[in-house]
Subunit: 207 residues, 2 copies
Amino acid sequence: MRISDLSRLTGVSIPTIRFYLREGLLPPGQPTGRNQADYDEKHVRQVLFIRALTTIGRLDLASVRDLLAALDDPQLPLPDLYEAVNRVLVPPDGAIADPTELDQARSEVDRFVAGRGWLIQPDIPARDRFAAVLAALHRLGCEFGVDFFVPFADAAERLAVQELDLLPAGTTDPDRAAVVVRAVLLEVALGAIRRMAQEHIVRQRLG
Amino acid sequence: MRISDLSRLTGVSIPTIRFYLREGLLPPGQPTGRNQADYDEKHVRQVLFIRALTTIGRLDLASVRDLLAALDDPQLPLPDLYEAVNRVLVPPDGAIADPTELDQARSEVDRFVAGRGWLIQPDIPARDRFAAVLAALHRLGCEFGVDFFVPFADAAERLAVQELDLLPAGTTDPDRAAVVVRAVLLEVALGAIRRMAQEHIVRQRLG
């Protein structure tokens, strides 16, 4: 198909598709003449994929590029693919908290993680992100213990199980783009559900 | 105190504090001389507040400004304050999905919301955000029913109750800045917990 068909089928404008091509996010089509190329179903899927991640998924191009690189390697173990998603969703923050306060909050997080029996790497950004929140709340005098998060951690575990249950049983080679897009969009859906639930509870209790 | 003390106490650099002042995010201090002003405890809290929201909370300055405006009105009912937070955390997306697909997904979301008995406004961005995710998953062929989200919605409700329980019992005038900062940072902490839980489950099941 021509680029105009690719645009029509995906609902993504031709200039945006050209931009994806220029940026190397989308592989070039089969050349059919000067300034013309032929695109196929794979291009349709990839355009929809990039579009979903950058609009609804709210990822920047660098993050999309990282995810495409992970998808490009068919040998990458599935846990590493999930890790690539985790890295994109919670990138390292750099120095955003006072080191001493952060150290104290880090031990709290370590105890929380150990208490749950979570086997996770010691250096993933999510740990520091959680610690930075605890440290900031402490500093602002509106802290609460990590126990506050126990019911949510239960729900997060259940949800992760549900997410993995979406993989076809016994498959060793699931649709990896689907794995990525689901993981990213799920995060967005959950944020939206949280906001709706909160609005309901606030109205019920305070309205 | 002088601006240098304000900087020392908050750990925020003097140029950044001057930037907050210039942008009107921080009220000016009491003038004590040419190019000198006196700052107080309120300034300390406000600097920490802005800093926490823009770094760990990952909000842009426009969002912080919106939240400060909401905090500036002591008559604003508490539910409206929570709504201001919701608006900042899930801003309207504009047209990011195909209108027809979105309409279909919207009815799904409406049924989900009605099924939970949530009393929420019909036009809040979170509804459309959720619908946009469902529409995109559908389009990419990796959809799953809204029932998938039921356990998470349960957890989100419980968490909203827990969050309101943090308000001192019977108070009609809680610390509003604390309400805002907790709501914003909670969202960040939950994202981090989700990533940790997912890494654990992925390793347990696939690793």
